[in-house]
């Protein structure tokens, strides 16, 4: 394995190895660049060190304390972000729908959020196609929504679990179209460049606590080995704190702490991919790249309301890929006149691990005593559906540094999140539909768990340095050798789960950088 000395001036340092960092790292290494990734989290061997146990897997989450403010405070930790070589993809559910073209035109279509400074068909779609084939995404051969794809998914869809069958039944009753979902988990063995054969999913249902067999396309079994095969070095347990800069303000070295020691890695370029909380936090702490005043602004989250119910059937919600089924019939619900909000959402069936379910039930329903024990005993009969909707940016939703310090002596971030009118209307619309689906499917004891997922938009990309932190290539307007590639650059949140699009943007940023010859 290639290693570099901190005195080697490498071509690029990549900070963070999640959905935004890892694909880019591989791309740069494959172009022959000398690249080093610095990752705050640990590196483990999933095959021997991952347990099928939620508590034992808590090390996957970013557990440094964040302060959640506003009227709808966001839950972080296990609900939001991960750490380790692979970032949050280590615990993502692997649901990988493509965005639709209109998702990137919210300003044009509705006068809200911001348009993406790029063209869907030329800038994003080719990367979706490449990613689906590289990662080995399992999905249906004719997906009913969005532009027709150039190639089919490389693998057939994963089998439907109980929750997916129930959603299928309820939706059929109501005339809502459904389809097996695209998931970045292998429905059959798959040969992967730089990696070799990856094994098929065993339907263990534990994606959110890490995949121990490598079936799920997390970065540690896909882009990271590919990057290493082409000479990239990945340093785990390396927490970046600051940067050295020259008189022109360009970054000359990245300063990080590993095992209590401080190091400075000399470099020509920096790719900041620390996720939508740590990226703006690091910039704010160091007062960098913020002439637009937009660092930390535009916090968006996906409305993720869940509806749970109990069924007579044995559901066993711990089995099968958790998000087996999808419907995008609600992608633009106003079009049929049933909605009065901007954007739309998708519907997803959800399986659930026992601790996650009971924890949500405790928070959402507040049950305790005999009622709690009763609910617990019906776990095997539980199934859920949820939405994933386009959440808008507002002035009142932002991230700031608090004056409380964490164990590293750095200010804890405080994130304000209050639903706007649009989110309230969207949730209300979705709650009616999901309750109808669940009642058509035969659910009893139905309850709603209001929730928002993913944090997005805190270093927005755009055309102008007055309104955005980075340009369409991910390059900082203020510091030309600093790039950002993660969930923070999204100008709007999209009505689909973000990881596939983060990876697509990461590859695009790498390609644009390589083309520019910096």
């Amino acid at each position: 394995m290639t290693t570099y000395s901190t005195n080697d001036t490498v071509d690029a340092v990549v900070i963070g190895t999640g959905a935004g960092g890892a694909p880019l790292l591989a791309r740069l290494a494959m172009a022959g660049l000398r690249v080093v990734a610095l990752e705050a989290g640990a590196e483990k061997d999933p095959k021997t060190e991952y347990a099928t146990d939620e508590r034992a897997q808590e090390f996957l989450f970013w557990n440094d304390e964040r302060l959640s403010a506003g009227e709808n405070p966001l839950a972080f930790g296990s609900n939001n972000s991960g750490t380790g070589v692979g970032g949050s993809t280590l615990h993502y559910t692997a649901y990988t729908p493509r965005a639709q073209p209109d998702d990137m035109q919210m300003r044009t279509e509705f006068g809200v959020a911001a348009d993406w400074p790029m063209d869907y068909h030329t800038d994003i779609e080719p990367y979706y196609d490449e990613l689906e084939h590289f990662l080995g995404i399992s999905g249906p051969s004719d997906y009913p929504w969005g532009p027709k794809r150039k190639r089919n998914y490389p693998l057939p869809p994963l089998p439907l679990n109980g929750a997916a069958q129930l959603m299928q039944r309820g939706c059929a009753e109501l005339g809502i179209r459904t389809s097996p979902a695209a998931n970045a988990a292998l429905s059959g063995r798959y040969y992967q460049e730089g990696v070799g054969w990856r094994e098929a999913c065993t339907n263990r249902g534990f994606c959110q606590a890490g995949c121990s067999i490598g079936a799920k396309a997390s970065m540690d079994v896909t882009f990271i080995p590919l990057a290493r095969a082409h000479g990239a070095e990945v340093r785990a347990n390396a927490f970046v704190t600051t940067f050295d800069r020259d008189t022109q303000g360009r970054i000359t070295a990245v300063v990080y702490v590993q095992d209590g020691q401080t190091y400075r890695q000399k470099c020509r370029n920096v790719f900041l991919c620390a996720g939508a909380v740590e990226t703006p936090r690091l910039l704010l702490i160091n007062e960098l790249a913020n002439s637009s005043g937009q660092v930390g602004r535009n916090v968006m989250a996906h409305p993720g309301l869940q509806i749970w119910g109990e069924f007579d059937e044995d559901v066993r919600p711990y089995k099968g890929i958790p998000g087996g089924l999808i419907s995008e019939d609600t992608h633009r619900p106003f079009a049929g006149g049933s909605a009065d909000f901007a954007g739309g959402y998708l519907l997803q069936s959800i399986g659930v691990m026992p601790v996650t379910y009971m924890k949500q039930l405790a928070r959402g329903r507040g049950l305790w005593g005999p009622a709690l024990m009763e609910a617990m005993s019906r776990y095997n009969h539980v199934a859920g559906i949820n939405i994933l909707g386009d959440g808008l940016p507002y002035d009142h939703n932002y991230l700031e540094l608090s004056d409380e310090l964490d164990a590293r002596g750095l200010p804890k971030p405080r994130v304000y999140h209050t639903d706007g009118d649009n989110e309230k209307k969207m949730n209300a619309h979705a709650e009616v539909i999901m309750r109808n689906i669940w009642s058509a499917a035969g659910a009893k004891n139905v309850w709603a768990f209001p929730r928002a997922a993913h944090i997005i938009g805190t270093c927005r990309m755009g055309h102008s340095p007055d309104e955005a932190v980075v340009n369409a290539n991910g390059q900082s307007f203020d510091i030309p050798n600093l790039y950002i590639s993660d969930n923070s650059t999204f100008p709007s949140s999209l009505s689909v789960n973000p990881a596939l699009t983060i990876m697509a943007l990461a590859l695009r940023t790498a390609d644009r950088f390589l083309k520019s010859g910096e």
């Binding site: 930790g77 066993r316 405790a362």
Partner: protein
């Protein structure tokens, strides 16, 4: 449907479970609860007694098996100042929030019944628990919002610890820890041999 007592213990001895999973669960099963509170680092003896009575109301366990200890793991976490990644901004840091929350139970008990929480009968305790959950407990020096959020956080943590225990899992009818073979019978009403 609950599995009989001992199901998970038996399962752990088979080759249906990977070594990493077995180790995590076996350690939890083997851990002896410390009901005297001798190893507590964070909670005072009074707080521990209060919490013990509180958890008995929140999570009434079957009496005919060993009891799952949820107090020591919380004590351990708070003593080591470990976080789960976030907290409500209206609450102080977790160690202070727990102290403040438990004190509030005592204050409300004194104000309303003239005795400590630990000397109340079960219906009185339940009444106060409900008030703390709703943020309506008179006598407690918390705002309504703090009271609600503290109670929610406390309940979520205690429930998570409880459900993480193999004894609770077999009572829920959960055998997902049998992770070595594939699961092929995953649709409605479909069970693998090891789930029956």
């Amino acid at each position: 449907m609950a599995y009989p007592l001992g199901t998970v213990r038996t399962l752990l001895d088979t080759d249906h479970v990977t070594p990493a999973t077995r180790q995590a669960l076996q350690e939890r099963l083997d851990k002896q609860p410390d009901w005297q509170g001798l190893t507590l680092r964070f909670f005072t003896p009074d707080e521990a007694e209060l919490l013990k009575q509180l958890t008995a109301r929140l999570l009434p366990q079957p009496a005919d098996r060993e009891q799952i200890d949820v107090i020591n793991p919380v004590d351990h976490r708070l003593a080591h100042n470990e976080s789960d990644g976030w907290r409500y901004d209206v609450l102080p840091a977790d160690p202070d929030a727990w102290r403040m929350g438990l004190t509030a139970f005592q204050e409300a008990a004194q104000a309303q019944f003239g005795k400590p929480f630990t000397q109340l009968d079960s219906p009185q305790q339940d009444q106060l628990i409900g008030q703390m959950q709703q943020g309506t407990a008179t006598g407690a020096s918390l705002t309504a919002l703090q009271s609600k959020h503290f109670f929610e956080d406390m309940l979520a943590e205690l429930v998570s610890l409880y459900v993480s225990h193999p004894l609770a899992q077999e009572e829920m009818g959960y055998v997902g820890m049998a992770d070595k073979p594939r699961w092929d019978r995953i649709g409605l009403n479909e069970l693998e041999e090891r789930e029956k």
